[in-house]
Amino acid sequence: MTEVVEAGALRGARLRLSAALWRRPWLKLSLLLAAPVLAFAVVYLGALASLFVSAFWEVDAFTAAVIHTWSLDNFRRLWDDHTYWRITGRTIGLASAVTLTDAVLAFPLAYFMARLASGRTRATLFVLVLLPLWSSYLVRIYAWRTILAKNGALNWVLNGLGLPDAGLAYTNTAMWIVFSYVWLPFMILPVYAALERIPENYLEASQDLGAKRWRTLRSVILPLALPGLVAGSIFTFSLTLGDFITPALVGGAGSSFIGNIVEEQVGLPNVPFAAAFATVPVIVMAVYLIIARRLGAFEAV
């Protein structure tokens, strides 16, 4: 008997709760969003904030303990030493080169997949584009190292054709190739999505108005695909900008990225200086995202 009463009370409470939520939609929304917003604020922004704060601290040269005094010394050291300018320039330069390369490689393939290929070919191409992502990023970098090595597959093919060694192992060119390879799928997919959404009648209208293929591409397809290209470039640019494994494994003398120096300084250990240098890519990305927004990257998705 008491069980029935309890069950009834429970049911009543549940009904009251759901009625209360129904009457106050804002309460339902905030309950739904509380967990992700909290995680975002504490985990994500909290980590960024503590990074930024520790950039103003210093390290005791003798004990390597962190001293909590505020100073701009870390930033001054970054500014004054041309080594860090060189490394920043190399990082941004290579990230730009990789982004450009991936855009040029991805566009024709994405166009073919989105507008020309049959359903079956398209599915096969999708699998092929995504296939490399099934294996670890490290495995793919090591694979490239053996391909580019002096005794590797590339030189074996070249020598077989009577050509001299490519001599690409442990160079910045090797890093450019490897980066372009590993991030290519991240460019193809958003460009594909953008191209697929262009209505067929836009292209017909363009033709009806007398535009040749080239003109249609330039004036209709490219502007409509631009948000996809920019969205893809955010991936390729930011992923290259933050990487330190590829430079460590396939780069030669003079191939350090910002990430490598950050890693070194954390191990020294000089976390404040690492934090100061780590704010550089954050700023670069912020600028990049503002430009991307202007170009309409966020309206596409």
């Binding site: 604020a41 930024f52 003798f62 962190v66 192992a169 494994l249 003079g254």
Partner: protein, 397 residues
């Protein structure tokens, strides 16, 4: 509310939130100040019963099951190991969680370029070597070496050591080099590999010590401004010849195996691995000597299992175990009594690893130690490790 106004409001809220978090982070950081004082007691007075577990930060294979299993059975201390890839990684692991091993780690097999950093940072505690019977048998220079003993206080027990050797490909470099000068010779441009480690500055200083006596370098780890600048300018010349600054010795090894480099500074363990793979390489230690690394099992300040840690230090310094570890890793024991045990496992290995050398042999090996301002000659004008790291980044970055 207009759209623009609302947007400003959103930004203001965002800024406030970020600011609040920053203050909170600063507060948290402030309260977790790492302790600077080092233990003044002389370490434990006796070894108690094992706590059932032992957490190690180690170079790979430093607690190889071939000899560690027996220890686990004897003492009941179950080993949990974390392999480190570099000295910096070891220091970073020990510093994580508030330093002193974070209450997680018991022992770290620190090399000489990390050990003084750990001592000065207060991350390790004093060890009573009286509780390690084999310590009395150690080769004298490894009993209280400068890289693990400060002011007569021991912060761990020496373990094994090895030289940094000159390795070359016998089919590509003819005749084979006999001097460290080869690593600075433009003839070998694009064929050279060098470790990517600031302590490598000492190798260049060691070369200058013999090739330019006028600089007056007596210890490659104690360099004043003038000596340091001369060394760095030599390294900047060398950079033009270097194909690869290897981060892990396995990377240097791969570059030799793939034919990308034919000459370089690396470790005996890599020579053995390459020769086992039939790569035509040979190592030399030039007659002037070499720099070398010596490893120490150091006791973490906040070690949760100190008894197991002492039991481990006692166990691994025994002659039989030293011999086993030496031949698994390719390095030299600090306990000369290991010699017959080495020969029993592999005939002639004691001589191969120089364990039977006279004491003056060790004067030709300059062991890694963290550079500090104190030059040992009363002056305080030597370049410290931060300066070494900064200069190394300028050379290689």
């Amino acid at each position: 509310m207009s759209r623009a106004r609302r947007r400003y409001l959103a930004w203001a809220v965002f800024a406030l939130l970020t600011g609040a978090l920053a203050v909170a982070a600063a507060g948290c950081g402030g309260s977790s100040k790492s302790s600077k004082s080092t233990s003044t007691s002389s370490g434990a007075s006796s070894i108690g019963k094992g706590e059932g577990a032992l957490n190690l930060i180690e170079w790979p294979y430093y607690s190889d099951p071939k000899f560690a299993n027996k220890f686990e059975q004897q003492t009941g201390c179950k080993i949990h190991r974390k392999d480190a890839g570099s000295s910096n990684q070891m220091v970073a692991l020990m510093r994580a969680g508030g330093g002193g091993g974070g209450g997680q780690w018991d022992l770290v097999s620190a090399s000489g370029d990390a050990s003084l950093r750990l001592i000065r940072g207060g991350d390790v505690q004093q060890v009573n070597v009286g509780l390690i019977p084999s310590w009395n048998d150690f080769i004298p220079i490894f009993k209280s070496p400068a890289h693990n003993t400060v002011d007569g206080k021991h912060y761990g027990v020496s373990l094994q050591w090895g030289p940094n050797v000159l390795l070359y490909n016998t089919t590509k470099i003819k005749p084979g080099p006999t001097s460290w000068a080869a690593l600075y010779d433009p003839k070998y441009k694009g064929q050279i590999t060098i470790p990517n480690n600031p302590i490598q500055i000492a190798d260049a200083a060691f070369y200058l010590m013999h090739s330019q006596p006028a600089l007056g370098i007596t210890d490659p780890y104690e360099l004043n401004k003038k000596q340091f600048d001369a060394t760095i300018s030599l390294l900047k010349q060398q950079r033009k010849l270097v194909k690869l600054y290897w981060n892990f010795d396995t990377d240097g090894r791969a570059a030799f195996a793939n034919g990308d480099v034919s000459l370089g500074a690396i470790w005996p363990v890599d020579t053995l691995a390459l020769q086992a793979k039939k790569v035509p390489v040979k190592e030399v230690i030039p007659t002037v000597g070499a720099t070398g690394w010596a490893d120490t099992w150091m006791l973490a300040k906040k070690a949760p299992h100190p008894n197991c840690a002492y039991l481990w230090m006692k166990y691994v310094t025994q002659p039989q175990v030293e011999a086993q570890q030496a031949l698994i890793f390719g390095e030299t024991p600090v306990n000369p009594k290991a010699c017959p045990f080495m020969n029993k496992i592999e005939a002639g290995s004691c001589a191969k690893y120089h364990l039977n050398e006279p004491l003056n042999y060790y004067n030709t090996i300059k062991f890694w130690k963290t550079p500090i301002p104190d030059c040992g000659n009363g002056k305080n004008d030597c370049m410290d490790y931060n300066a070494w790291q900064t200069a190394w980044t300028q050379v290689t970055g």
